[in-house]
């Protein structure tokens, strides 16, 4: 059968990262083709290419066998490719009908909108999706997420979409809404619409999908018919088997408990989280984006003060109301996004590095410039930051060097507990190795490190112990010896509870 849309040998590079490397994907009429991959595997980039947001650096896009160029989302739409993003792109202040026909409302010869016929058509369109309970004159802002999504689907159909791309459509839905969504998808399938379906939930892939394609690290891993594969096989494809020796975890002397968290809550982001962290230990924290890992870190660091629960540092219970308090107790937090959270980009290295220790560097509230410069120079040397001067603007450094500046500014506080959130995201392999080596050295010196990472090889390579979070809870814990990509991957995806596989019947509602 001739596929509706084919993407062949697609390569896309962003500064510093190869997002897609020779990837292929196709979708036929009347099928649901699931696209799977971990965070950062390249799914989003691929669907953005299919929907005209990005142009590939290399590769071909074929529409019914003929090469096309999708120069913009508008061009893709006019070719019948519609995308429903996770964040729905509707106008909350406009009505359902207005949203559906935004940009292509029926008009009179004078250009005025035919309001009555527009509402009529909107109603027909919704009826064709078996939706009868949605008032087309209501404002979209007042609708539930599930209903808004239905409006988006109707909008796509009003543009005669033949290919519908859905990016994690069930992520924010209630169970009943998921059910209704699936019914609509079946309806569309029957009409010959091809649906590209992205989800983290394997169960849904098996419920709804016809075929499934797996990406990993921007590479094409394979395509399977859903009937020919198993969950285990898909998880293997997702996380891969090989761990390169990029991650030198030195043997360290693991000492006393430094950080103890008990029943920590910041609902709904984190629920009843308890764990310990010891001197010289690196604890890896795995989980999907949105599983509450960063929020947990931020509770410990005082950015999202916990609603309940106990945080003990060196055996003493403390209350962390703000980052300053946490810093006083020797906690440092290397944030997830160095650009928006870690650095003041238009300022220079020296100023960025001293930001955390302004008080230590000051006498009578005036900064000692000599000390500040000395700190900057020694950090540059110690972390081998590639900069020509401590007065260089940090925004101009490469991603890896920027990250080292953030590491440096936290090491300046001489922490006893270091929480790192995605420490090597978006930096090149060399800088990555250096940061890993540094973390190993710091652990050797007795620092306790909690490492949040979405890269399983990194978690497996660096950690003495691994915690897995899902939906705000710690759902599994593995020692270095017991941890494998498979069991961590399963725990992340929801097939393992407390280290044990979940029974089939329990999994349904997930």
């Amino acid at each position: 059968m001739q596929p509706l849309l084919e993407l062949q040998h697609i390569t896309k590079t962003f500064p510093g990262v190869k997002a897609l490397d020779d990837v292929q994907f196709d979708i036929c009429a009347g099928e649901v083709h699931a696209l799977l991959g971990e965070n950062g595997a390249g799914k989003s980039t691929l669907i953005k290419i299919a929907s005209g947001v990005y142009q590939p650096d290399a590769g071909d896009i074929l529409l019914e066998g003929k090469p096309v160029r999708l120069g913009s989302p508008h061009e893709a739409q006019s070719q019948g490719i519609a995308t429903i993003y996770q964040e729905l792109l509707l106008y909350p202040e406009l009505t359902v009908a207005e949203n559906i026909f935004m940009g292509h409302a029926p008009r009179t010869p004078f250009g005025a909108i035919r309001w009555i016929s527009m509402r009529e058509k909107a109603r027909e369109l919704l009826a064709s999706l078996n939706i009868y309970d949605l008032d087309v004159t209501r404002k979209v802002g007042a609708l539930s997420v599930g209903n808004r999504q239905r409006v988006e689907i109707a909008k796509a159909l009003s543009l005669n979409a033949r290919i519908l791309i859905m990016d994690e459509p069930t992520a924010a839905l209630t169970e009943a809404d998921v059910e209704r969504l699936f019914n609509i998808m079946k309806l569309l399938k029957g009409r010959g619409v091809g649906i590209i379906y992205i989800s983290h939930r394997l169960q849904e892939v098996f419920d709804m999908g016809d075929r499934v394609t797996v990406l990993r690290d921007g590479r094409y891993i394979g395509t399977k018919a859903v009937t020919d594969t198993t969950e285990d096989e898909l998880i293997n494809m997702l996380v891969g088997r090989s761990i390169d020796n990029l991650f030198p975890k030195a043997e360290t002397q693991i000492g006393n408990v430094v950080l103890e968290v008990e029943h920590l809550n910041h609902k709904p982001l984190t629920r009843d989280v308890s764990f310990q962290l010891r001197e010289g230990e690196i604890v890896g924290m795995a989980g999907l984006v949105g599983s509450g890992r960063s929020e947990l870190a931020q509770s410990i660091f005082g950015l999202l003060p916990a609603q309940s629960g106990i945080i003990r540092i060196n055996g003493k219970a403390i209350r962390v109301r703000n980052p300053r308090k946490a810093m006083r107790h020797g906690v440092a937090y290397l944030p997830e996004d160095r650009g928006t959270q870690g650095l003041v980009r238009q300022m220079n290295l020296r100023i960025n590095m001293s930001l955390t220790v302004l008080r230590m560097l000051s006498r009578a509230s005036f900064i000692n410039r000599q000390k500040e410069l000395k700190l900057a120079l020694s950090t540059i040397e110690k972390l081998s930051i590639r900069a020509y001067s401590p007065n260089q603007i940090v925004g101009k450094l490469s991603g890896g060097n920027q990250q080292k500046v953030v590491v440096g500014k936290w090491l300046a506080t001489m922490p006893r507990i270091l929480i790192v959130d995605e420490p090597t995201r978006g930096i090149d392999v060399g800088a990555k190795a250096e940061i890993h080596r540094l973390m190993g050295e710091l652990a050797k010196q007795g620092l306790a490190i909690l490492m949040i990472s979405s890269e399983l090889p990194e978690v497996l390579g660096m950690s003495d112990r691994i915690l897995v979070m899902r939906e705000g809870r710690i759902v599994a814990e593995y020692s270095r010896a017991d941890a494998t990509q498979e069991n961590i991957g399963m725990a992340m995806m929801g097939n393992i509870e407390n280290g044990h596989p979940v029974e089939e019947h329990q999994m349904d509602g997930v």
């Binding site: 980052p323 870690g342 003041v344 100023i351 930001l355 000051s362 900064i367 900069a387």
Partner: protein, 352 residues
């Protein structure tokens, strides 16, 4: 381990020759200073009377109160906020100050001198309090500063009109006229005696306060924190800097400096006008033309001061070269646009 010097060659090597020039063009303060010198030289050449001592003093003192108020505004804009109520606040405080100086029902133990001091000091305190209220709305209730200050502008204008009933204030005691004093009058000087003797108090206030604040902002931990909050509030917060404390301090200081400016404004003539020229616009213009990025994070009070002086110099110069002073508004507008464009280019070069 690789040494620092070996790793990357300076990018600026490619432009080795005009490096000095580039650093001058790159600094708004230097550009303004150059423009000021060239303007005075040019107009002085066209019409010698422009350089007369009395006129030169006017050139420097005329906008001194604007420059003092611009200190606070500079801080406010660096943190990424704005305050458009400062003009109304300044005139209100000026009226308040004048009213104290002519008030006759103080207890008898208060000397005339202490009443004058009260008239000078009280506006600073009230200004600080108003600043604290505005700061509270912005910092803790998270209402955009432009909205809060718009509200305060109306409130203050209303109060001003009702309380003053549109009457100007006159009959202040002699000792009250702070801005008309010449502090160096009696100091013998070897050169430029006329010029230095002619210098009025606002000039000393302007230079003194600007130098103090410039040093404080550049070298103190709090000054650094102020720039960090303006440059990236999130990163500053994560670095243990209390954004709330910095914002409150900024707005309180803003009110305080408006208070000082209001005293200079109130004491410059023998009457205090309660009409409202758009003072806040002149202050904001001075700050923006002075190189303080409206997006926050960069700029200095020195730039704002130079811009305030430059604006006044242009106003005064127009008369001497036979151009209608009504052009001033348009010229201010052009200056703002040029500065914003230059800032944009600089930012683009930085992120390139």
């Amino acid at each position: 381990m690789a040494s620092v010097t070996q790793t990357v060659k300076p990018i600026s090597r490619r432009f080795a020759v005009p490096r000095v020039l580039r650093s001058i063009i790159g600094s708004q303060e230097a550009v303004l200073f150059l423009a000021l010198v060239l303007l005075i030289a040019y107009v002085g050449n066209e019409n010698g009377r422009f350089l007369a001592t009395r006129n030169m003093v006017n050139v420097f003192s005329g906008n001194a109160y604007i420059a003092v108020a611009a200190i606070g505004m500079t801080m406010v804009i660096i943190t990424g906020n704005i305050d458009i109520s400062v003009g109304s606040l300044m005139v209100t405080l000026a009226m308040f100050s004048g009213a104290i100086s002519i008030y006759t029902h103080f207890p008898s133990w208060m000397s005339e001198n202490s009443i004058i001091w009260l008239a000078w000091i009280a506006p600073l305190i009230v200004g600080g309090i108003v600043g604290a209220i505005i700061g509270f709305f912005v910092t803790y209730l998270r209402i955009p500063a432009i909205v809060v200050s718009l509200g305060f502008m109306s409130i203050l204008k209303g109060i001003l009109i009702i309380v003053s009933e549109g009457e100007r204030i006159t009959g202040m005691p002699d000792g009250y006229a702070l801005a008309q004093r010449h502090p160096l009058e009696k100091v013998p000087l070897p050169i430029f005696e006329d010029f230095f003797h002619g210098l009025t108090m606002p000039i000393f206030f302007m230079f003194g306060l600007i130098i103090l604040v410039a040093l404080w902002m550049r070298y103190s931990a709090t000054g650094r924190a102020l720039y960090a909050v303006g440059g990236n509030a999130e990163a500053a917060r994560l670095s243990g800097i209390s954004e709330h404390r910095i914002l409150m301090l900024t707005f309180i200081l803003n009110g305080f400096f408006v208070g000082i400016a209001s005293v200079l404004y109130a004491t410059q003539f023998s009457v205090i006008q309660v009409t409202l020229p758009p003072i806040e616009m002149t202050i904001i213009t001075a700050v923006v033309v002075g190189g303080v990025s409206i997006l926050g994070g960069t700029g200095t009070v020195i730039g704002a001061m130079l811009a305030a002086i430059l604006l006044n110099t242009i106003t005064k110069a127009l008369v001497f070269v036979d151009i209608s002073p009504f052009w001033m508004r348009a010229i201010q507008g052009v200056l703002i646009l040029i500065t914003v464009l230059a800032d944009l280019l600089r930012r683009q070069r930085q992120s390139a």
